[in-house]
């Protein structure tokens, strides 16, 4: 029925990028190939994914969020993750302070009063209907901003959305009169947002996207190869996220309140808890910017006002175990991808919680210095973590808006996206100044084929005939234990320890704890081919190209830079 309406001709489209988050959503568009996140009529770029009905009037975003305290019975929040899911497989934890999800024939619905009047009957709305109403508000806001009706969007989704969830989202959007050009995964949208910066050169790199949201944290390892992105591993964590940090602050201040007020625990009352949650989140955000923040709630419980402060150091202390949980999560995904922290070139911090300076600092500590930690507190040029996904979606939307829907469908078909990725690197052998064989990677592991890469390597100083040896290679991590301290007889020292005072032995323990050194080294594997370039002139250079076909056949070409001819050879699959 709405088919014709929701699939406009490519020329008639007005497109945006949408992040439809569990906590917040964003809308973005592109001007001159640059993505911009749109502020809605309230001035918000992060728009709470919340709908609220007061006297039949619909509110969304920040206004709806404010109603969580006073109008929780008619406010729906944290519903995105329920779309396309059965009631039995949803986690209603975060809906406790708003309308609870209910089981209607196995699917998820919410019951609330969305009409005016004392005697208005409550409606039971499916999560799809709620999503449609919310998306409609986003689209309206974007249309108003852009001055024309938005017709189509690229929407970001978590990497673990299944087909049913995707279909439900597309249907919900269609019902809101929005054509979904494409659903793209959230972490890849973040990578695209960074890679689209004009100064960025496309490089082969391993990127970790730590998307730390409100109710979940999703960490993804992406191999970025010649501008193509392949997800190597993912992890989804519902235990360590923004809400966990809110809870740390809620507990902290609730205890303080109880101490001041004869043990009254404000967490036991739903409304007080809602107030605590609201203020805790605001305080937490404030602590990302400044080193001190207030925490004030009027009439927190039993009519008693509460006002306190907290500094960042204290916050980081009480939230330490949560922060450490993020570290472990990131490390576990890298391991799952079969990689080491030393393999990671870039860490993108995405999502609201990624604003937290401590988290970025902790990541800085687990990765080597060479890893680029892209977060506002570590890199001044970092993009706002809350805007990454919407920007990525907008860029993708503008990229494909001219294509027919059928064309997009065929291009994103699994038959197109499923391709072999080589396991080992392919490279050329060179010699270092000390005469050692050194592997120079040309095509990196996990590169999707077909692929072609080129390097330029110097010939020996005096030129002449040179050998091009094409080999496979792989990395391993070399661990060098610290040299034991040269303070003589250790066993003797250990024996005297008993006699010595405790402080003494503690001190020596500390001193001995020197860190082991870990480095990534290339190991030369099987030889694929040899070739010769003859008569290279003094100081000359050689350009070597390796081309791996889809069937894994390899073509090698080499020639002296600036000279004619050269060699070319083929290795059949």
């Amino acid at each position: 029925m709405s088919d014709t309406k929701t699939t406009p001709a490519p020329g008639d489209r007005t497109v945006i990028g949408v992040t439809f988050g569990n906590s917040n959503s964003s809308i973005a568009y592109t001007v001159d190939d640059k993505a911009e996140v749109i502020a809605n009529e309230d001035g918000d770029r992060q728009i709470p994914t919340i709908l609220s009905y007061v006297d039949g009037e619909e509110y969304y975003g920040q206004q709806a969020k404010a109603f969580l305290v006073r109008n929780s019975k008619n406010t729906v929040a944290y519903f995105r993750d329920f779309l396309g899911k059965d009631f039995k497989s949803i986690d209603p934890t975060h809906n406790h302070a708003s309308v609870h999800p209910e089981d209607v024939d196995g699917s998820v619905s919410f019951t609330l009063t969305d009409e005016e009047g004392e005697d208005a009957t409550p409606s039971t709305l499916s999560v799809s209907e709620i999503s449609t109403r919310y998306l409609r508000r986003l689209v309206n806001s974007a249309s108003e901003y852009l001055g024309k009706k938005v017709t189509s969007a690229v929407i970001t989704i978590p990497t673990n959305f299944n087909d049913k969830q995707k279909a439900a989202l597309i249907a919900a959007a269609a019902a809101a009169d929005l054509e979904v050009l494409q659903l793209i995964s959230e972490p890849v949208a973040a990578v695209v947002a960074y890679d689209a910066r004009p100064e960025v050169e496309i490089k082969d790199k391993i990127v970790v996207v730590a998307d730390l949201g409100g109710t979940r944290s999703d960490v993804t390892v992406v191999a970025s190869r010649g501008g193509l992105y392949t997800i190597l591993a993912t992890a989804h964590d519902y235990d360590f996220a923004g809400a966990t940090l809110d809870k740390v602050l809620i507990d902290h201040f609730a205890k303080e309140f109880a101490k001041r007020n004869q043990g009254i625990d404000p967490r036991e009352n739903a409304r007080s808890l809602a107030k605590l949650k609201f203020e805790a989140e605001a305080t937490k955000r404030a602590l990302s910017l400044s080193t001190n923040a207030n925490f004030s709630i009027e009439s927190l419980a039993e009519g008693i006002d509460f006002s306190s402060t907290i500094n960042r150091l204290r916050y980081e202390t009480i939230a330490r175990s949560v922060f450490e949980g993020f570290n472990r999560l990131v490390e576990s995904v890298i391991k799952k991808a079969g990689l080491d922290v030393l393999d990671v070139d870039e860490v993108i911090l995405s999502g609201g919680t990624a604003h937290t300076p401590r988290i970025a600092a902790n990541f800085g500590a687990i990765f080597p210095e060479s890893t680029n930690i892209l977060a506002p507190s570590t890199t001044p040029a970092a993009i706002n973590p809350s805007e990454l996904q919407a920007r990525g979606a907008a860029l993708q939307a503008s990229l494909i808006q001219e294509y027919e829907a059928e064309d997009i469908d065929q291009s994103t078909h699994a038959a197109v996206t499923t391709v072999p990725h080589i396991t080992n690197a392919i490279g050329v052998l060179s010699v270092s100044q000390s005469g050692d064989e050194v592997f120079v990677p040309v095509v990196f592991p996990e590169t999707a084929v077909p692929a072609r890469r080129t390097v330029i390597v110097a010939a020996p100083k005096n030129g002449g005939d040179v050998l091009i040896k094409i080999v496979e290679g792989n990395t391993h991590i070399k661990v060098t234990q610290p040299q034991p301290k040269a303070n003589g007889d250790n066993s003797k020292a250990a024996k005297v320890e008993d006699a010595n005072s405790d402080e003494d032995s503690d001190f020596s323990d500390d001193e001995e704890e020197e860190e082991e050194k870990r480095e990534k080294v290339w190991k030369v594997g099987a030889t694929l081919a040899e070739a010769a370039i003859r008569g290279v002139k003094k100081g000359g250079k050689v350009e070597i190209s390796i081309n791996v076909n889809a069937d894994l056949a390899v073509t090698v070409t080499a020639r002296e830079v600036g000279a004619k001819g050269g060699v070319r050879g083929q290795l059949n699959a």
């Binding site: 995964s185 080589i422 090698v556």
Partner: protein, 446 residues
């Protein structure tokens, strides 16, 4: 993509390298050298890829399914059924009594316990939340009793905090393996029974890897290593979990300090008891460990063997020394006897030589007498004197060998002329050798 520039240099072509068109294929990338993965259909570079890959083809739903099946899955398949059945008694637990609950059992991962990964704990938690969230029960019209849900939350809180988890694991008796009884040991396999005890104890080790008990065939070194490690076991086990609650209250500081002190002492005591317990386990295990007995016997046997060998060697050395001494003495004696004999022989030879000289001298003298002093008729005393004088001169000047040679020439000669010519010859020879001067010769002077 930009071309990478490398600051190393290529090797020179080795002497004698040759190939057709200067290219020598050697290996290839096999199918195992690649993994089917899904590239994300995002970004400008993907558009180019899609254009190449599609070739204006149209793919069907079947193609999609096939391709998806080929691709390596990077998402874990989760949210399966909770595998461990839930004990109805456990569901009735009072959350206030969380300290005494079995957190692993509450989350349905009691078969993993200290071995459960953080990821397993998170998944188990999520499964339980999906099933037991009180808001879901209430929505379904069931009671909104959230007691067990609180147990779940508490279990998760403990198990996802590495410090708290260690405290709980420290006192998680469900993970203990009781030492085998005598009866069990009679029937069962010693190494299996005790092995699992130490495997379980190993969870408290600060050091890794933890050596295992091994079996009958373990080497002496491994067995020694095992007992050494365990007798010096460095354990992280703590007993904070069993602390009495410290009153969280500003008013009563003394009371608070008192409880804290009490807890600290209790922890210390339990730790000491635990160390003693482990020591006893080791004592018991090692006492029954046949390998130790065997190694001891073997060591004893080896020691005995060594001793015997040493004794034999000593004996042999003594014998050798005695024999050597005897031989030396014998040799010395023989040498002495030989020297004596030599001496005696020398004496005889000397005497013989002397006699020979005497005899020869007699021959010399006799020869001139036989030749009648080279005159006919009675020889004048002066002539006799002169001739004998010359004979004596020769006897005095010539050595015994010359005398013997001369005597041999003269022996048997009867004719005076012959005798004279021999003598004349001899004088000539002696003058020539310088032993005799011409002037000294009287009768035979030429």
């Amino acid at each position: 993509m930009a071309t990478a520039l490398v600051s190393l240099s290529l090797p020179s072509l080795p002497e004698g390298w040759a190939a057709e068109k200067d290219f020598k294929p050697i290996g290839k990338i096999t199918k195992d050298g690649a993994t089917q993965r899904t590239i994300e259909p995002v970004g400008p570079h993907f558009l180019a890829h899609a254009r190449r890959a599609r070739h204006k083809r149209t793919f069907s739903e079947d193609d999609r399914i096939q391709a998806q099946e080929r691709a390596k899955n990077v998402e874990d398949v989760d949210e399966g059924e909770i595998s461990e059945p839930e004990d109805p008694m456990m569901l009735q637990r009072d959350a206030k009594d969380w300290k005494n609950q079995d957190h692993y059992k509450v989350l349905g991962i009691s078969k993993y316990r200290y071995k459960a990964t953080e990821d397993q704990i998170k998944r188990a938690h999520r499964k339980k939340v999906l099933k037991h969230h009180p808001d879901k029960k209430a929505a379904a019209g069931r009671s909104d009793d959230d007691n067990f849900f609180k147990c779940i939350q508490k279990a998760t809180e403990v198990l996802l905090d590495p410090v708290k988890r260690r405290q709980f694991d420290s006192v998680d008796e469900e993970a203990d393996v009781e030492p085998p009884t005598k009866k069990q040991l009679q029937k069962g396999n010693f190494y299996k029974l005790w092995g699992s005890v130490f495997k379980a104890e190993g969870r408290f080790s600060k050091n890794h890897p933890v050596p295992q008990l091994g079996d009958d065939k373990s080497s002496k070194e491994d067995v020694e290593n095992f007992y050494n490690f365990w007798y010096n076991f460095d354990s992280w086990r703590t007993f904070e979990y069993l602390d009495e609650d410290v009153p969280d209250d500003n008013e009563n500081r003394d009371q608070k300090r008192h409880v804290e002190r009490k807890n600290a002492n209790a922890r210390k005591k339990k730790k000491a008891e635990d160390n003693a317990r482990l020591r006893k386990l080791l004592d018991d295990c090692s006492a029954g460990d046949e390998r130790i007995k065997r190694f001891r016997q073997e060591a004893n046997a080896a020691k005995n063997k060594k001793r015997l060998e040493k004794e034999a060697a000593e004996k042999k050395a003594a014998e050798d020394a005695a024999a050597k001494k005897e031989a030396e003495e014998k040799a010395a004696k023989e040498a002495e006897e030989k020297a004596k004999l030599d001496r005696e022989a020398g004496k005889k030879a000397k005497e013989a030589a002397k006699n020979a000289v005497k005899k020869n001298k007699r021959v010399l003298r006799g020869s001139v007498k036989d030749a009648n002093y080279f005159v006919s008729g009675d020889a004048a005393p002066a002539t006799i004197d002169a001739v004998l004088g010359d004979v004596e001169l020769v006897q005095g000047k010539a050595d015994p060998d010359e005398l013997a040679a001369l005597a041999a020439k003269l022996n048997g000669l009867k004719l005076a002329d012959d005798i004279k010519s021999v003598w004349t010859e001899e004088f000539k020879r002696l003058v020539a050798t310088g032993k005799v001067k011409e002037s000294e010769i009287k009768a035979f002077s030429s």
